[in-house]
């Protein structure tokens, strides 16, 4: 896969279709790739990497990158294409300056899961026949790929690319039985007290690093209300436990109807707070109230919270 992507990127750079390539660059370990822009063939050959640990959704970088001179090539996984479409619908990215290559995806790995299995001192990870061989300074171990799969990928909603200029690999289908609302249903089944206790437990770990907000493709405000000194809520730390909850709840409200459920918020949270559950609750409720809707699926489709119909549920 990496070879095919690199080859195609080199071709498109060489024939002048694009002037830059947005992908991932190699890290210190087998799993710590950083999103990067490559401008030359040498840079690509030196540093371009694609593997099961390239989880980052690159679409948000296009807000900045598509405003620069020249066309940029971006590699998008199926779930990333929903974010791309949503940004397009919100006029945050300039389509003409972007060349999208959709890349097939069977789910990304989460190194935290490997580490939780006690795999410390990782020096190499090799994939073969649905298994990872993980080499560490303490010896090597084989792990089934699905055991290391990121939570969000276990409930993958779609293997279909909703936008692309060309594809590498196969396009898939929307996954209808992804069970992504299972945990939301469990939360709904709780008593209010239990649910409150659950969220207090989770959100009390928040350190207000803003990683969830800054990575979120739906959080693309020029200035966030929480950064605006005139808003009265600009705080860098929670003043009290009430505010600790409110930051995430307000954010979830703000992205409701625009959140594509890409799962980046939970991926980046250094405190392992399952933030995506807040968004999924909104998605589930909107589906129930206004009919099935998937943000980013079709940029021309009217969003449920942005349209009014006589049949709308009042309360």
């Amino acid at each position: 896969m990496q070879k095919m992507m690199e080859k195609r990127a080199l071709e498109l750079l060489a024939d002048g279709t694009v002037s830059r390539v947005l992908g991932w660059s190699a890290g210190e370990f087998p799993y710590d790739m950083t999103p990067a822009v490559f401008e030359t063939a040498e840079e690509l050959q030196d540093g371009f990497v694609y593997n099961d640990f390239c989880g980052a959704n690159l679409s948000k970088y296009l807000i900045k990158e598509s405003r620069k001179e020249g066309k940029i090539l971006v590699f998008l996984k199926p779930c990333d294409t929903y974010s791309f479409n949503q940004l397009l619908a919100e006029h945050r990215i300039i389509r003409d300056n972007i060349y999208v290559i959709g890349i097939e995806c069977y789910g990304k790995a989460d190194v935290e899961k490997l580490k939780a299995m006690g795999l410390e001192g990782i020096t190499g990870i090799y994939m073969k026949d649905g298994e990872y061989t993980v080499e560490t300074v303490y010896g090597s171990q084989t792990v089934k790929a699905y055991e290391a799969m990121a939570e969000r990928c276990l409930a993958c909603k779609s293997k279909k690319h909703v936008v692309y200029d060309e594809l590498i690999g196969e396009d898939g289908e929307v996954v209808t039985d992804c069970n992504r609302f299972d945990m939301v249903e469990q939360l709904e089944a709780m008593t209010p007290e239990q649910r409150f206790a659950f969220w207090r437990g989770e959100l009390s770990r928040c350190i207000r690093c803003n990683a969830c907000r800054n990575v979120c493709p739906a959080c693309s405000c020029e200035q966030c209300v929480f950064d605006n000194p005139n808003s009265g809520v600009a705080q860098k730390a929670a003043v009290n436990s009430f505010e600790e909850n409110m930051f995430h709840i307000i954010r979830a409200f703000h992205v409701a109807g625009r959140c594509t459920d890409c799962g980046e918020c939970s991926r980046v949270c250094p405190q392992n707070i399952p933030l995506h559950l807040l968004n999924r609750k909104f998605i589930k409720d909107m589906n129930a109230f206004y009919g099935e809707y998937q943000a980013g699926e079709d940029p021309d489709k009217k969003p449920p919270l942005g349209t009014y119909t006589l049949g709308d549920r009042e309360a």
Binding site: G27, F29, K115, A116, V215, D227
Partner: protein, 342 residues
Amino acid sequence: MKKLSLAKLNDLFAAIAQREALYLPVDNGTGKAEYTKWQEGTVYSTALNTGRSAKDFFFPQTENLMEFKMEGKRIDVIDTREECEDFVIFGVRACDAASFDILDRVYLTDPVDTYYKNRRQHGTVVTMACGRPAETCFCGTFGIDAADPKGDVTCWTVEDGYVLRANTEKGEALLAAVDGLLTDTDDKAVQAAQEKTRAILAKLPLAALSTEGVGQGLTKELFDRPEWASLSEACLGCGTCTFVCPTCQCYDIRDFDTGHGIQRFRCWDSCMYSDFTKMAHGNPRVSQLERFRQRFMHKLVYFPDNNDGLFGCVGCGRCLARCPISMNIVKVMKTLAKGGNK
């Protein structure tokens, strides 16, 4: 040196906790250990490092500084400082223990930060030598020995128990108070444990990471290096690295209207945030490049400049593990060392 048998670890915790509050790493249920107050039944986690660093004990994320009573034209300043109670932190790793030295140089130099000093005076640090360092560890780069950590008391896990060594008066007082649980021992078992750890440390992927190319006096050479642009390009401008970092010590001071008066508190701040240096008439660090550069220049050049060459990083590896886009100080150091054209 003193010896504690494996079976008596819980007794040790109970004996300490009877005297003063005891905090130690405990699994928080999300696959990470966090410092938690010990009570009967608490299970000590041997995880390599806690998710949040131990700096929280001396430099908490938020703390109240003072209060103001406002009445008509009058303001009363209320000093709310209180003498902190004694406490013990058990299981601090060598990297975090070294971070206290860095924080001390900021907060204990004149004018002393009395809030910090208060907690520092009342806290006793028991370190735990590392037995299973991870690939993200690079404390050795900064001269820290994971097999022989500092602290008031150093503890080693050996085959049939634990060996403890008091390093300070505070440490001696602590061991004296629990002396009934301890027996005398020599340093043979410790040496064996250290040898084992050091052999692993030498095999770690970052074992060869050097500080060549960074350090004291290199502002001019490093500040305008073109690599800052590509290094910072993917940075999200979040505060994860700064907040999990044991040596990041920047803070903000803010006021909060409680309805009964004004509470002035301080909280962690991050040089990665866009409003960190923003003023009414502009911002000297206009883009993420300048903010990103500031964080690493501070740790690798400015702090050493002002502290006899001491680096502002202890190699704990938290930022390597936690950065959402996997950019970190190791990548910065390697890039700067590679591109050097002196």
